[in-house]
């Protein structure tokens, strides 16, 4: 049953009743209000300006670095994610994720002088030292595109990790380090479920030749974010998620679901070493931004779900990792050897930057439109700069804050965003407790477009989002604290507000290519190639009907595995299906092709075994437009 937003709010307000937490909050607007949502911060080379990337308001704000007064606002493309300055500071480059463009800003005039097309969902950009090439990480096309820095003309695309997102130039300018937010595809099939620990990488690009020269493996990692280097280039650090998806998600104690880690590397380390940020009974969920102080004495790491900055003493960390045999990641007591402070900041802290003298650290708090200004000598927040924006918190904003925070879970280990990175998915499969240990392996699904696709869970046992995200989540994930009714309603409203990203496989004007047209005809066909009528339940377009590609009913499509409990499977939505591998309820199909080449021997998941390989390719080309 679909509930209009207004009705949802009314119900939530009614349920709120005597709950004091709701007082004064029941009149939140359900409109999507454009908050600034600062994601990244950056000083000009002379330290006089602070550039703030405001993802929610599609702009760059320029602040006086002394007074933090806003001196300019520069409109850029839709949902910017990354930015960087040219080596001379004369140009600011901004990636716009929904437009697939790069904004080029003249920092003297503070105006956009060019907007260049780049790859799909550009997320980060750096220019080489010579100022001849730009490198842009593209999250959807999984690559780093190389552009002529003067003209924006594309030179080449380098294969990066899946969900390519963040780039860092080494201090000597010789290398670019690229990270990615989704784990790389499994290299090999491992059995009927294809379950393997996630594998990620830091892609190392030779900046001079613009070729990939190395891929530093990050084992068991799914979600890799910013990289930072010491000024001498001898120490690198990357923030990352370490999910425990290969074991049943039975409890959160002792890092049972996630660990929050950094990997340090470089000459000082002599390899790559993963170390935990968490403590035995307290977690710093969703590490994202990293910085190393100019004197290499401290590493700072933001944790978006825990609303903290972790401060690491570098000499102590080095002594620890050189004195003890790795691995350290299973030992949550290890962090006591090198973590010297946890600094509470605003909601969903993300990007951070240090002043040139290293005495001040600035942190962008995305979900409360503020910047925390931290004195690095005392590890105290000196001041919090509030950015201009709406004065009230909308229901959607409150829901988003709820989505990202880890405060509801036991010891603050996880938030929704741990498995739904940037409100999407994580590309891995999980074994959740309620269905039994080792039973019902579940592929984590995309949240965009989730509105009006109930029931939820692949068994269809959750009739609506409040059930999915309320009791189920509270009992089996958080295990510590429940949402009050208004918070659950706002979380629901937020999830229902998540629109699908634009399809990168559709032509302008939504015309289909010839291959897509042929695939669409196959998708909609009612007669097979032997001129036999295909039963209704065996037609793609019957189960995957409607704008989101689901008729919201349950079926047996022959994909049950021996470790699945009995029952039918919900017809999965097709929203952005090109992006969301692996597939099927348990993620056993690594690619769209495998749904039919491996897991449809009896034509129960649609009549497809009469198709030639060309035709199956056409069908997939059409599906990729959904």
């Amino acid at each position: 049953m679909n509930l209009p937003l207004a009705a949802m709010v009314l119900i939530a307000v009614a349920l709120c009743g005597a709950n004091t937490a709701c007082e004064g909050e029941e009149h939140r607007t359900v409109e999507n209000v454009p908050y600034a949502s600062p994601l990244e911060v950056l000083f000009s080379p002379d330290g006089a300006r602070l550039y703030v990337l405001c993802q929610g308001s599609d702009e760059i704000r320029v602040l006086d670095a002394a007074s933090y007064a806003v001196t300019a606002k520069i409109a850029v493309g839709h949902i910017p994610r990354g930015f960087s300055l040219s080596p001379d500071g004369a140009t600011l480059f901004v990636t716009n994720t929904w437009d697939d463009t790069l904004s080029v800003i003249d920092t003297k005039a503070l105006k956009v002088t060019a907007t260049w097309p780049v790859g799909a969902e550009p997320s980060s950009v750096v220019e080489d030292r010579a100022g001849t090439r730009l490198f842009v990480a593209n999250r959807i096309s999984n690559d780093v595109v190389v552009l002529d820095a003067a003209t924006g003309v594309e030179e080449k695309r380098l294969l990066a990790g899946r969900g390519s997102s963040y780039l860092t130039l080494s201090p000597d300018g010789s290398r670019i380090y690229a990270t990615h937010v989704y784990p790389n595809p499994d290299a090999q099939r491992t059995g009927i479920e294809n379950r393997t620990p996630p594998e990620s990488e830091i892609t190392v690009i030779d900046a001079g030749r613009a070729v990939v020269v190395d891929r530093m493996p990050l084992h068991h990692i799914a979600g890799v974010f910013h990289v930072a280097f010491s000024s001498d280039g001898r120490l690198g650090v990357v923030a990352e998620y370490h999910p425990k998806n290969m074991i049943p998600l039975a409890h959160l104690e002792h890092g049972g679901a996630f660990e929050d880690t950094i990997t340090v590397f470089g000459a000082d380390v002599g390899g790559t070493v993963e170390v935990p940020l968490d403590e035995l009974e307290r977690y710093v969920s969703q590490p994202f931004g990293v910085a190393i102080s100019p004197d290499k004495s401290r590493i700072y790491v933001t944790s978006g779900g825990s609303e903290t900055v972790t401060v690491i003493d570098v000499p102590r960390l080095m002594r620890f990792i050189h004195a003890h045999p790795a691995p350290f990641v299973q030992d949550l007591s290890a962090s006591a050897n090198y973590v010297v402070a946890r600094i509470a900041v605003g909601l969903n802290p993300r990007g951070l930057t240090l002043t040139r003298d290293g005495r001040t650290l600035l942190v962008a708090n995305r979900l409360d439109d503020s910047i925390s200004v931290i004195d690095t000598r005392t590890n105290q927040v000196k001041t919090t700069v509030k950015l201009e924006g709406p004065k009230t918190i909308s229901a959607i904003r409150h829901g988003e804050q709820t989505f990202y925070t880890a405060r509801y879970s036991f010891q603050g280990e996880i938030g929704c965003a741990n498995c739904h990175i940037d409100s999407t998915f994580d590309g891995i499969t999980w074994n959740l407790e309620p269905d039994g240990f080792g039973r019902n392996i579940v592929d984590n699904k995309l949240l965009e477009g989730v509105k009006d696709t109930e029931p939820y869970k692949w068994t269809g046992t959750n009739p609506n989002i409040p059930t999915e995200c309320g009791p189920r989540t509270e009992k089996y994930f958080w295990r510590s604290e429940n949402y009050d009714n208004l918070t659950l309603a706002d979380l629901t409203i937020y999830l229902r507000s998540l629109d699908p990203r634009p399809s990168r496989w559709k032509l302008a004007g939504y015309q289909l290519t010839p291959a897509q047209e042929r695939g669409k005809a196959l998708f909609e066909r009612a007669v097979d190639k032997f001129k036999k009528t295909i039963p209704e339940l065996n037609r793609c377009a019957y189960c995957h009907s409607g704008p989101k590609g689901t008729n919201q009913k349950l079926f047996d499509v022959g994909t049950h595995k021996a470790n699945d409990n009995a029952g039918l499977l919900k017809s999965a939505p097709l929203t952005s299906i090109a992006l969301t591998a692996p597939y099927l309820h348990d993620g056993s199909a690594r690619t769209l092709e495998e749904i039919w080449t491996v897991y449809n021997p009896d034509d129960k998941h649609g009549r497809t075994n009469d198709l030639t390989k060309d035709e199956l390719n056409d069908l997939i080309e059409y599906l990729r437009t959904r």
Binding site: K156, R157, V598
Partner: protein, 365 residues
């Protein structure tokens, strides 16, 4: 009647060529043509190769990639490293290789799919997990954002920007047989050598296909030698300087877009008509890998490099424009007479053979 006369003339001409002096029985009246000479260094399992059956070789700057029967080996800094299926390689038998000169990525066609080697990471595409038409990948070539693939079930193209696979076969090209053996892609044309269906040409500008067949049909006779492709069973194509070189099991062809010129053992310096590979240097010069040795054609003269088929001793012969064959004293030869693949490294040559990989180091003359 005209055809009959032509046939008689050709047969007579063939007899004349076949009557040319055999190696060792020469009386030279002119200077020996200057043909490249090499010192061959051979690699086998004895010095680092994972297997002696080397199907493909690829020069990548200072790195040499060798596709063997048991893994993909790379030679760098005087040491071999081998990638196997444990590293993600689609299959242990690597039968074709191509370099994406833009990105440095290497593409390996195997008996079980297509693998991309990029910065040490291997991603593999198969007929089950991707749009690849067939797992047996005989040929691969990279041009711009497209990877062109020759498989046992047709040709296909992977667009690296859109990840779209386009399949080409008997349903949408003039390809009668779908056993695609070789591909050579350039910015203007893409050529496929089809085992039993001649040469296919794809025009990059128009997106249209054309076809070149043996005018003598599928017979093994050569009635009209230079009127078209020498034979339908095409094993290798190489397009360079707007000239197509095509190898077949029954001789080789050169096509400049207007005229065909064919080579047979009986009237050229080819050591055998059974040719596994041809690689053009330019419009005039090419290297041929046959079952009876490695051959070089400079536009006029021929040179053949092989271990003797009789006693295995190194041999080199030079055949001049007059058809005079002169043996040249050499101390090294390719690892085996059965040549499967060729690539160039400056003036040096790398040769994949049935019994090892050979590095021909060019000698100063």
């Amino acid at each position: 009647m005209k055809k009959l006369c032509t046939l008689v003339l050709l047969l007579v001409a063939g007899t004349v060529v076949m009557a040319a002096p055999a190696p060792g029985n020469v009386t030279r009246t002119s200077a020996l043509p200057k043909m490249p000479r090499f010192r061959f260094e051979n690699f086998t399992t004895a010095n680092g190769l994972p297997n002696d059956h080397v199907y493909a070789v690829l020069v990548d700057g200072n790195r040499i990639w060798a596709g063997t029967d048991n893994g993909l080996a790379v030679y760098e800094n005087h040491a071999w490293k081998t990638y196997t299926t444990k590293d993600g390689l689609a299959h242990r038998a690597v039968i074709s290789l191509a370099l994406d000169k833009n990105t440095g990525d290497v593409w390996a066609g195997t008996m079980g799919g297509l693998s991309r080697i990029s910065g040490g990471r291997i991603d593999s595409f198969t007929q089950l997990n991707s749009g690849l038409s067939n797992d047996v990948v005989y040929g691969v070539s990279v041009e711009g954002e497209n990877v062109w693939v020759a498989t046992a079930a047709g040709a296909c193209r992977l667009n690296l920007h859109s990840n779209q696979w386009s399949l080409y076969n008997e349903r949408n090209t003039p390809m009668f047989e779908i056993w695609s053996y070789s591909v050579s892609a350039t910015p203007t044309k893409v050529y496929y050598g089809i085992w039993g269906s001649g040469v296919l040409e794809y025009d990059q500008k128009t997106g249209k296909w054309d076809k070149y067949d043996d005018p003598d049909g599928e017979t093994e006779m050569v009635l009209f030698k230079d009127q078209g492709l020498i034979h339908e069973i095409v094993t290798s194509v190489s397009y360079v300087d707007n000239v197509l070189w095509a190898a077949t099991y029954f001789g080789d062809s050169h096509y400049d877009g207007r005229y065909w010129h064919n080579f047979l053992k009986k009237d050229s310096g080819l050591p055998s008509n059974f040719t596994n590979v041809v690689k053009g240097v330019d419009a005039k010069r090419a290297w041929f890998g046959t079952d009876k040795g490695l051959a070089y054609y400079d536009g006029v003269n021929w040179a053949v490099y092989t271990p003797s088929l009789k006693d295995g001793k190194p041999e080199m012969t030079v055949r001049d424009a007059d058809g005079t064959v002169t043996p040249v004293a050499v101390t090294t030869a390719p690892a085996h007479n059965y040549i499967l693949n060729i690539d160039f490294q400056g003036d040096d040559i790398w040769v994949a053979t049935a019994k090892g990989l050979s590095h021909g180091i060019r000698e100063k003359q």
